[in-house]
Point group: C2
Chain length 142, copies 2
């Protein structure tokens, strides 16, 4: 939040009501929220804001490196607060739960593959899909 205001000032941009509401709600709610969900939450606090401002503010936060945008296998993007180290995701196909995980080994392996291919990596994505523990227990489909 403080960081956000600082970035805004640096760029000669303004702190406004809607912008602050959106950022605050986003940072409070935390991880893996969709624009639609964020819109609904922000409207509870400020019923005036429109989708356009939601998307514009999300883009702004992204440009400020304060959020990551993710595209899982749904139609919509999801947004998460930017943290220090890279992590990957497991997504439950039944309940939508997202579990984050880190693996140094996978990171290392990616680098080794990249150098084998002779390419220069900027980023990467690894996503596991399936049933989470709970859904696995509920659904007797093996």
């Amino acid at each position: 939040m403080l960081a956000f205001h600082e970035r805004l000032r640096e760029r000669g941009l303004k702190s406004t009501g809607p912008r602050d509401d959106i950022a605050r709600v986003f940072f409070e709610l935390g991880r893996h929220i969709s624009a639609e969900e964020l819109y609904a939450e922000v409207r509870k606090v400020n019923p005036h804001v429109g989708y356009a401002t939601i998307y514009r503010t999300l883009k702004l936060l992204k440009d400020c490196n304060l959020l990551f945008e993710r595209h899982f296998e749904e139609g919509q993007a999801r947004y998460e607060v930017a943290g220090e180290h890279h992590h990957d995701h497991f997504i439950c196909e039944n309940c939508g739960r997202i579990i984050e995980f880190e693996s140094d080994e996978i990171e290392r392996m990616q680098d080794s593959i990249a150098s084998k291919l002779g390419v220069l990596l900027t980023h990467h994505k690894m996503e596991l899909y399936g049933l989470c523990g709970e859904c696995r227990a509920k659904k007797p489909s093996r």
Copy 2:
């Protein structure tokens, strides 16, 4: 192609001109084609087919397990001929080139992560993004 006709017959579906044209062009062209590109190619051979039939046939081929649908970091989906073993992708952010690779180690690691998380995997995806060898050489940006 033969496999496709067989699957159609099994399901009581019909072999038609447009359907065959689309499937043939798809299998000939091979990997990582978009619906738009496929549409353009098919139109060269049969100028009557519309986008709807392209998408419907792609879906059909997918349901028959004859193609995989991929969603890289572009707006559109890309389609590839279904092969036996799983592979992952590197995508050049400059020229769009897609390089496939396989890594048993990564597959193993994914399984180990899944069991650590207590989840049941159905599928997974690993994508590397960056500059391919050629683009890396051309662009002096490090």
